[in-house]
Every structure is written in C-alpha cells, then in structure tokens.
C-alpha cells in the first residue's frame, strides 16, 4: 500500500468514528425514552436495565389517552398552532413586502425594532400580559394564547419573508406597473406566487416553534383541559411521582412525534430555511 492510500483509509476511519459517536450521542436519549415508553413498572426497576422493552405493549399510551386525556392536549396544540400560522402570515407577509419594496423614512429603525423584539425573552412581555389578561378575562383562554403566539412569531417571520421578497428583481414590479397593474395586483399576482416556497418554509418554522412554545401557556393557562401538549407534559410531570417515568416517557414521545416526523420528511426545506439570511450564496 502506498502512503497516500494509508492516509486516505485512516481519514475515512476517523470520519466513521466521528459518525458513530455523533449518532450515539444524538440518537440514544430519544431511543432510550422510546424504549421506556413501552416498559411496564417491573421492567422499569429491573437491574441491570434492559435496553429494549420485553414487548411493545401500548398500556402506557392507553393510560395517557384514557386517564390524562392527552389527545385533548394534542387537539389544543393543533388548533393553537394552526391559528398562529394563519395569523402570523396575515400580518407578516404585508409587512415584509413593505420593508422590501417601499422606501420610507424610519424603515431601517423599524426593522431594527422588530429584530430586537425577536430577541427579547417572551417571559418579559408575559409578566404584564398576565395581569392585563386577568383584568379583561383572557387568562386561561385559547384565544388569549393564540394572539400572544402570533405576536411572538411575527418578528422573525417579517425578517425571514423579507429576505425572499428581496431576491425578486425590482424590474419585475416595474414592468407590471407599466402594464397597468395596481400595487395590490403586483403583490397578489406576481410577487406572492414567486415567494410561495418562502412562505411554505416560514409556515414550517412557525409550526415547530409554536408547537414547542412553553413559557407562554405555562404562565397564561391554568386549565389542564385547554393546555397545549408541551405545557400538559410539564403539568403531568408535576402530578406524577417517581414510579411513573414510563408514562412521562410515552407523553414525551407523543409531544416530539409531530415535529420530528415533519423534520425528517421536510428536512431539505427546513435546513435551507434556517440558513437564509445568515449565509450568503
């Protein structure tokens, strides 16, 4: 064997070593939780712990459905997330168009303000909102949660969608104006169809962040039957005691399933969406 060949083999071997370590580190905690979600109480306490459950019994999941009404949490999450997506897009699309196409004084400052809002911890704004909502009866309501979710999702989406509007050459707008289109027509007939992939990626990002949202419902929602899944999970953790790890594991799996499946199916879109703006070229 020549020196080059040996070197190539060594570097390939090293890369595979990195791969194996990466896969173990990132996959094992999820697989272990998945395994626990199928275990019975005696299995839970078996020493040494078994890597795999003895059977794929679904009793832990049945318990969650029947005793905890976890499907209601799933439904709550679906409703809140869907409404948040629609609301966020309704306010973020027009605004991102304006920042991309209309030149006006203060545009840059407003964009900075929006960026700053995006970086502020939602906890800071939820503190006063808790009192306002208590005053006007929006505390413990789904609609109250939705409007706050929209406010939190919108800033990032404005920046995100603006970057898609920016990629469309302005000559396209100008040609349409000369052909006699109104501004609204230019937006709805020409620009929007062009940035549909961007809007789609934006929807995916809002879906995942809204599904994961915790701090807002944790503070603004006290009624378990109206809680979204992420919040219900912590509520459940507080109620159950030590011997119920298997239920908690099953509930965690249910919580992560929609976003993880979505990620695995649409990985390409999501990865390119996340790099928009941060990386040129």
């Amino acid at each position: 064997m020549t020196g080059g060949k040996v070197k190539r083999r060594v570097s390939k071997g090293l890369l595979y070593l990195v791969f194996v370590l990466v896969i173990i580190f990132f996959l094992f905690p999820v697989l272990w939780t998945l395994s626990l979600s199928f275990k019975t109480v005696p299995e839970l306490y078996k020493i040494p712990p078994a890597l795999l459950p003895e059977t794929l019994q679904m009793e832990n999941y049945t318990y969650l459905v029947e005793q905890v009404h976890i499907l209601r949490g799933v439904a709550n999450s679906v409703i809140i997330t869907a409404a948040t997506i629609v609301g966020t897009m309704l306010i973020a699309v027009p605004a991102s168009y304006a920042f991309s196409r209309i030149q006006f004084k203060g545009s840059r400052f407003l964009q900075f303000l929006i960026l700053m809002f995006q970086m502020i911890s939602p906890l800071v704004i939820v503190i006063p909102l808790y009192r306002y909502f208590a005053d006007i009866g929006l505390l413990n309501t789904t609609i109250g949660l939705i409007v706050v979710y929209i406010a939190i999702s919108a800033p990032f989406q404005v920046w995100f969608l603006k970057s898609f509007f920016d990629t469309i050459p302005k000559e396209l707008d100008e040609a349409a104006y000369i052909d006699g289109c109104s501004r609204l027509q230019v937006v709805t007939k020409i620009l929007l169809p062009t940035i549909i992939p961007g809007v789609f990626s934006g929807v995916l990002l809002v879906f995942i962040s809204s599904w994961s949202q915790f701090i807002v419902p944790y503070i603004l929602m006290d009624t378990p039957s109206k809680m979204p899944l992420a919040c219900l999970l912590v509520n459940l953790q507080g109620k159950l005691n030590q011997i119920t790890t298997h239920y908690l594991a099953a509930a965690s799996i249910l919580t992560i399933l929609p976003t993880v499946v979505l990620f695995l199916c649409l990985q390409k879109y999501i990865v390119s969406a996340l790099t928009t703006g941060a990386v040129k070229g």
């Binding site: 890369l15 595979y16 905690p29 306490y45 545009s107 502020i120 009192r131 404005v158 965690s252 990865v271």
Partner: protein
C-alpha cells in the same frame, strides 16, 4: 410630443405609486407589536421602579428599592455566575461540536462515504424537539435510581454513581450538557452551510502546494466563514440566554439555586415569591442584555450586506 408626455406621465404615476405610504401594509403588524410588546415593555420598566407585589401590582409610587434589593441580594451574584457558566459552556461546546460535525459531514460528502446523510439528519433532529421534552428526556437519562441509564453505564465502567441533578455542584454541568445536546443542531446547520461557501478551488490549490489539513482549516476555511461563525455564536448566546423551557422540567432552577439562570430568577421572583417589583427589575437587566445582543446582531448583519 404627445408620445413623450405619455411616458412622462406613466413614469410619474409609477414613482408616485412607489412612494405610496407603507402604513396600510405595516399597520396590522405594528398594532399587534404595540399591544403585545411595546406596552408590556414600558410597563415592566415602570413596574421595576416601584415596590409592587402580585397582590398590590400598582405599588406605592416611584422608588429604587427593587433595584437595591436585587443588587443587595446575596443570590444575585450566584445567579449571574450560573447564567454565565450555562451560556459560555453551552455556546463553546455547541460551536465546537457543531463545527466538527459540519466539517466531518462535508469531508465525507466529498469522499462520497455511506451514512453521511444519515449522520447529518440525526445530528439535526434535536432542533425539532420541543425544549420541555428535551428537559424530560434528560431528566430520564440522568435518573439517580437503579434504572438511571447513565449511572448504569458508569457502573459498567467501574465508576461510582453520580448524583447528576441532586448534587448542587454537578447539576449545573448536567444542565449545560443537556443544553449542548439541544443547541448543537442549530450551530451545525449554519456552520455546515458556511463550510459549503468556502472556495473549494482555493483549498485544492493549497493541497497541491502541500498545505496540511490543519493549515487549510485555520488559513482558508475559518477565515472564509468568519461572518457565519460570528452570527452563529451570537444567535447561540441569545438562545441559551433566554432558555427557560428546558431547565424548568429538568431542574426547576434547583437544587437550591444551583441552576437558576437569569430568566428563571425573573419567574421565581414574580410567580413564586410574588415580588413583582424585584422580578421586573431583574427582567429589565435581562432586557438590557437582550437589547445589547440585538444591536450586535444588527451590526454584524449589516456588515454582511455591505
């Protein structure tokens, strides 16, 4: 002549249209942001200068008492240290791990190795997992009873058991490691995209000149990715700094105050000790740090455009 005037007219109407008011397009957004950001922010700042409590949210007029309480509180130094450790440990290792994975995946792609896509996908999955679920998954991993898997693996290696979450001197490290698991994906995504933008011809030319891999990394790859690296690190600092969802189910800030980061301290002051004024004062400190980071990010982004 007639034709000329037409052109002028249509140009004029275009420029008028182009100068049309942005207000209708921005109004819905700013209405929402005013109600849910601006007013609450002003309220938090105002409340921080009172001695309000949750039972008396108006307080008794202007006072600096809440800030004095924050800075005289012996716990404040500890909270800042916990926050600093949590953020720096997380960000350093999220960056290093994300960079190693990005480089390895990129190198494997050029060698057309099997398993590259699988590894890339798995390294990114944690990005899609809700923070609360990550907290619970790691709480299960760190379990200190006989069924705790990490402790069992340690016992196989002949090591003694570690009280990952109940020993105050270990809990912060355990929490930070869980957060590295959570945030590496975000790093990896950006850095991987950054690696792809590095000039491959330049790397090849360097190889022909006999440059070592290490030399190429430090003289071509890293300088070529400078702006991505900075943006990535800044985003990770902000994300880690605002982390609440993962810590709450994992440790709740405990044992004692050993994992109480700044965001958790705001929550505990207001919703557990019901001290609204003091909680708001801590929130204002949090806010000022957030604003400082946004300014940094804005400047970095603008530099990128120029």
């Amino acid at each position: 002549m007639q034709k000329n005037r037409m052109t002028v007219k249509s140009q004029k109407s275009f420029s008028r249209r182009a100068g049309q008011s942005p207000v209708p397009w921005l109004a819905p957004l700013f209405l929402v942001l005013c109600v849910f950001y601006l007013i609450p922010l002003v309220d938090v700042i105002k409340t921080s200068f009172t001695d309000a409590t949750m039972t008396n949210p108006a307080g008794n007029g202007f006072t600096m008492a809440s800030y004095v309480k924050v800075f005289q509180d012996e716990a404040f130094g500890e909270i800042m240290f916990v926050t600093f450790f949590f953020v720096s440990f997380s960000v350093i290792f999220q960056f290093l791990l994300g960079f190693v994975i990005a480089l390895a995946v990129d190198a494997a792609e050029t060698r057309r190795m099997r398993g590259t896509v699988l590894t890339r996908t798995i390294s990114l999955v944690s990005w899609a997992i809700p923070g609360v679920a990550i907290g619970i998954i790691w709480k299960i991993m760190y379990a200190e009873t006989g069924s705790g898997i990490l402790n069992y693996l340690l016992s196989l290696l002949g090591s003694k058991q570690i009280a990952f979450l109940s020993d105050p001197s270990v809990a912060l490290l355990s929490t930070s490691i869980a957060n590295v698991w959570r945030g590496t994906a975000q790093s990896m995504i950006l850095l991987y995209a950054g690696v792809k933008t590095v000039d491959k011809q330049l790397l090849e030319a360097a190889s022909i000149d006999g440059a070592s891999s290490i030399k190429k990394l430090f003289h071509i790859t890293i300088p070529g990715m400078k702006s991505v690296i900075m943006i990535n690190v800044l985003l990770n600092i902000i994300n880690t700094f605002n982390t609440f969802d993962m810590i709450m189910p994992l440790t709740g800030g405990g044992p004692g105050r050993s994992t109480e980061v700044l965001v958790l301290s705001v929550y505990r002051n207001i919703f557990q000790q019901l001290d609204l004024g003091k909680g708001c004062a801590v929130a204002v400190i949090l806010l000022m740090i957030n604003v400082a980071f946004s300014i940094g990010y804005f400047i970095l982004n603008r530099g990128d455009e120029a």
